[in-house]
Each structure stands twice: as C-alpha cells, then as structure tokens.
C-alpha cells in the first residue's frame, strides 16, 4: 500500500497534465438564452448556475421523476401540476406517507424574479428551495444522501449530469442547480392582459373597469402588494387579516420577530384563475371569495397590514367585486399552461 501511495505521488503531476488536456475535450454545456416577454423585467440568474440547454433538460427530467421521493412514488409534479399553474388543485397536498400538509402548494410561475421561497420565505434561493419538499417528512420524505445515491446508481443520470455540469458524479448541489434552472424557464408573460398591454388585444368594458378598481386606492387597492404589471406581486410578507390570532404563524416561524406573526408571502396573481384554492391554507375556493375577504372579511390584529388597517370595509359593490375578478382572469396565460417545453 505504501508503495502505491509513493508511486502515486510521482505519477500525480503527470495525471494532472493529462486531465487538463482531457478537459478540453469535454463539450461544455450549451448556453441557453432565456426569452423574457415584453413587460417583464430582466431576470437575475446566479453567476454560479447559468442556464444551459442540458441543465434545463436535466432539471425538467428530475422535476417529473418520482425517484426524488423515498418510495419512488411522487415527483415535484405530483403537487405542482402544469394545468393548474404548477400548483395543486387540492387544498392540501398529500405526501408519500398519506399525510396531508397544512399549506396550499404554491404556483411555480416566474420564480426567477423571486428571492425567497415557501409561504414563509424559509428558503433564500431557488436552489436551496429544492431541498425542502424532497426532505420534508410529510412530503417526499427522502434524504439528499439517498437521492444522490439513487441517481448515481441509474444508467442514465450520470451521463446527463456530465452533459449539464461536466461531472458525471451526481451531487446534491447539481440536483438543486438543475431543478432551479428548469424552474427559471417557467415564465408566464402572454396572457390577455399582456397582449392588451402590447396593443395586441382588447379588454372588455368589465375587464377595464376591473383594472381601474385594481389600481384604485379607495376601491380594490390590490396594487399595493400585487404590483401592477410584470410580476403582480411585491413578494413581501404581509398579514392580510385572515385570522385575528393566526393558527399558522407564517413568517414568524422563520424570523422569530413578533411583528411577523401571521405574515405570508404575497403570491403572484398570474394565472390566478387556475391556481385555486387560495391563501396559504387554501381556505377560499373562488376569486370572488378572496375579493370579499379584502372588501369586508378581513380581521383586525396588531400585525394586520397597514394598507388593510386603513381600508374601509364594504367599499366595493357586488358588481365592482365581479369586475375585479373579471380583470384577474385576464392574467390567465394558456400558452404557459400548454407549453410543451414544460412537460
């Protein structure tokens, strides 16, 4: 054994030279140019995880592969269905052990513009987010170490990782990076609203009235949080008065700041017609119920968002609420829902 080690020391420099030469021959992954629809801002992509054709393809394959769960029965797509804006039409998703969660699955739309993930913002990046559902005991209930081992043992994945990242050995880091790459391509920017903004479509009188109410600080006042245009969210954490004493403490569980009790991430409203049920706990089935909540239903507490504290209850008529809903439905992007690149 000693001799082998000594021999290796002398051979090692030669090996490094040889490896350098070899590296030139490994074809680098093909850079992928993301097409950002008009109206959406540029996307910040981490410099250590640039998008590549091979990386995105690998990420898509992993996203749809149940090998990521402990008993190989559930994939990311089990609870994030493209038909529903990559969310789950059930109030709570059920994990591999038959246990339901306590929060509604979040839609996966325009994630590349967001910096914090999960309803409470517990994950600080799209890459880190990937570990959450895989390891959550009531979701896919798997360990990253097992996922790495299972993928390494397959015939096809090592080659796919080599094509995407230059290294055949599967690592948790590259699993996270591949899935994040795929998720950054899930862009919605061709709804009727977008077409209207580009001068390619007309909104009906009701939709236009809804748009005006959406922006009217005395009426819908939706824009404070669901920023008008582009992302339709500020991606901040806010207490929207769902409960006076929150059952789920939300953002507080991450920051332990008392002022964060009952705060949840503002979701984007893109494709909101498809992402029912609504709110972090999926308590509302329809968009009208959501609008009714902001019009009359919200409950007061110390942490209630100031925009709602000052809002007058019952400030919108039934007709106005229906017009608001009509406008929200113009954010539905069937090209996104049917995009063959995503499945």
């Amino acid at each position: 054994m000693k001799k082998i080690i000594v021999a290796f020391i002398f051979i090692a420099p030669l090996l490094f030279v040889a490896c350098d030469k070899g590296e030139d021959e490994i074809p680098a992954a093909t850079p992928y140019t993301l097409v950002i629809p008009e109206g959406l801002p540029p996307m910040n992509i981490p410099s250590n995880n640039p998008l590549t054709v091979e990386g995105i393809a690998l990420g898509k394959r992993l996203f749809y592969d149940p090998i990521l769960s402990a008993n190989n029965t559930q994939s990311c797509a089990s609870c994030h269905l493209q038909d529903f804006g990559f969310t789950d039409p059930n109030q709570f998703s059920t994990g591999i052990d038959g246990i339901a969660g306590t929060r509604n699955a979040m839609p996966l739309i325009n994630l590349g513009w967001q910096t914090k993930f999960f309803w409470d913002g517990g994950a600080n990046g799209l890459e880190s987010q990937v570990m959450g559902p895989i390891t959550n005991p009531i979701e896919m209930h798997e360990t990253m170490a097992n996922v790495v081992a299972k993928l390494n043992a397959t015939a096809e994945y090592p080659d796919l990782f080599k094509a995407a990242f230059g290294i055949a050995e599967v690592s948790s880091q590259n699993i996270m990076r591949a899935i994040a790459q795929f998720e950054r391509t899930l862009i919605s920017g061709n709804s009727k609203y977008d077409q209207y903004m580009r001068g390619e479509a007309l909104l009906t009188a009701q939709e236009l009235n809804g748009k005006a109410l959406f922006e009217d600080m005395e009426k819908g006042d939706c824009v404070h949080c669901h920023s008008m245009g582009s992302t339709f969210s500020d991606f901040e954490f806010r207490n929207t008065g769902l409960d006076s004493i929150p059952v789920d403490e939300g953002r507080y569980m991450i920051t332990l700041n008392a002022s964060d009790k009952g705060k949840f991430k503002t979701p984007s409203l893109r494709n909101v017609e498809l992402t029912a049920p609504f709110m972090h706990d999926g308590r509302f089935q329809t968009l009208l119920e959501c609008v009714q909540h902001y019009n009359t239903g919200f409950r007061y507490s110390a942490n209630l968002d100031p925009n709602l504290s000052f809002a007058v209850k019952g400030r919108m008529t039934q007709q106005e609420m229906e017009d608001l809903v009509a406008f929200m439905k113009t954010l539905t992007d069937m090209e996104f829902v049917n995009n063959p690149e995503f499945h």
Binding site: G122, G125, M131, I134, M144, S172
Partner: protein, 249 residues
C-alpha cells in the same frame, strides 16, 4: 506510517525548492489538526453511557458539529487559515483528522475557529464539500446549518425513565468564535495540533445543563433562545488545544 512516508516526501520537495533563509525566501512548514471528543479525560464513544454534571446518565448515538475558518495566529497577530468548513462526525473517523496544510514558519500563539457556519455561508444549501446538504446538517424548510447535533438518550431525574435527547443547535445567533492559546514554533517542520472537545464540559462549564424537561431543542422557537445562549457561553470552555512538532528538517 503511510502518512509519515507521504509527509516526508512532500516535506523534502518543499524544503529543497523554496526555502533559503539566507536569501530571505519564506520557509514553510506543515501542520495538521487532529480532533478528539472527550468525556473528562477519557475518549468519547458513541452509545456509551456517561453522567453529566446534573447527575443524569446519558449517551449519544450521533455527535456531529461544524468547525469553520480555523486559523493559526502568530505572535504578531498575523493569521493563516487552515480550513474553511469542516464537519466533525464522531461516527466518521476520517472527519476527526483534518489534513496537512502548508503554513509559513513562525511562532504561533493561538488557534482560532468558529463553532458553526458563518452567516455568509449559513443561508444557502447550494454548497459542496462539508457543507453539502446530503450530510443532513441543514434545516431545509428554513435554510440554515445545524452547527451542533447531539442525539441520544438520557435518564430522566424525575421519572427515572429513559427518554430521547435531541439537541440541534444553530442559527446565526448561535455562532461561537473561539480562540485557544497554543505554543507552536514552526521551523521547516511538521507539527500537529490536538484539538479536544469535552462533551461533559459543554453541559457544565460554566452553566450546568440538565436534560430533564430540557431534552428537545431544535433552535426553532423563542423558547430555544435561552438554551442557545447557555450553550454558546459554554462552548469555548469545552475546547482545548495543544501543539507539538513531530518532524524537523
């Protein structure tokens, strides 16, 4: 012996090629760090039963912790970093032997390191090496590393029954900067620093920690904060270090 042969060869190569004191070129030495987990003066073993300062019998089937940015400090206050992030796992003997690092010759008087992962690295799982999430030392729902993990059983002082002990210590406020005095004259030499961690001292010095009614802490709620503060105060006293030269050119 294997390591010794390897060291000798590399040491020769370095000293021949780079070190000429008379020409003013900097001379280099080697240093490695070996870590030993202890109970008092005895080596710690997984699944063995020990008694803490509160008089409770306990064991550990898992004992892991992160040490980050370990540096040697010389008499002029100059620092040389030996290792970035190291996961110490009692179940993995190789994790207790931190490999050889080239250091400038000099008189080193202290060893600095953090117990835990610094805030720059503590909030992303997109990392490799010892910070790879596959080692299970990360919270995946609230991205952050578990700095110290002790899982085992103890005997409750009130009920007399065996109960689980789950200590997952972390979050930015839990990071412990530690500085230990050492005495190391590195002069074209190979040296070793023995870093010792006494688990019983962690639970006793200066604050005695009893496990009964205090056996499940995962650094997730405000009720964990006093426990974090107590352990943070104890950690520096649980470590000690000594250095010696074992090979001189």
């Amino acid at each position: 012996m294997k390591q010794f042969a390897l060291l000798l060869i590399t040491l020769c190569t370095i000293t021949i090629s780079s070190c000429r004191k008379d020409l003013g070129t900097k001379c280099k030495s080697y240093n490695r760090v070996n870590i030993t987990n202890l109970i008092g003066t005895d080596a710690f073993h997984l699944d063995s039963t020990y008694t803490n300062a509160a008089g409770e019998a306990y064991n550990a089937y898992m004992l892991k912790y992160y040490i980050s940015h370990m540096k040697l400090v010389n008499e002029n206050g100059e620092r040389v970093e030996l290792y970035a992030h190291e996961l110490i796992d009692q179940a993995v003997p190789s994790s207790l032997e931190l490999g050889d690092v080239i250091i400038p010759d000099g008189h080193y008087t202290s060893l600095e390191f953090n117990l835990g992962v610094d805030s720059l690295h503590n909030h992303s799982g997109d990392q490799a090496g010892d910070l790879d999430p596959m080692y299970g030392m990360i919270w995946t729902w609230n991205t952050g590393y578990i700095f110290f993990k002790h899982e085992g059983y103890f005997t409750s002082s009130t009920s007399g029954t065996e109960q689980p002990l789950i200590y997952h210590y972390g979050t930015d406020r839990a990071l412990v900067p530690i500085s230990l005095p050492i005495e190391l004259h590195a002069d074209r030499s190979a040296s070793v620093i023995n870093l010792q961690f006494d688990l019983n001292k962690l639970y006793s010095n200066p604050n005695t920690i009893a496990f009964t009614g205090n056996n499940n802490h995962q650094s997730i709620s405000t009720s964990d904060i006093p426990w974090i503060n107590t352990l943070r105060a104890n950690f520096p006293n649980a470590f000690s270090a000594s250095a010696f030269v074992f090979l001189q050119e």
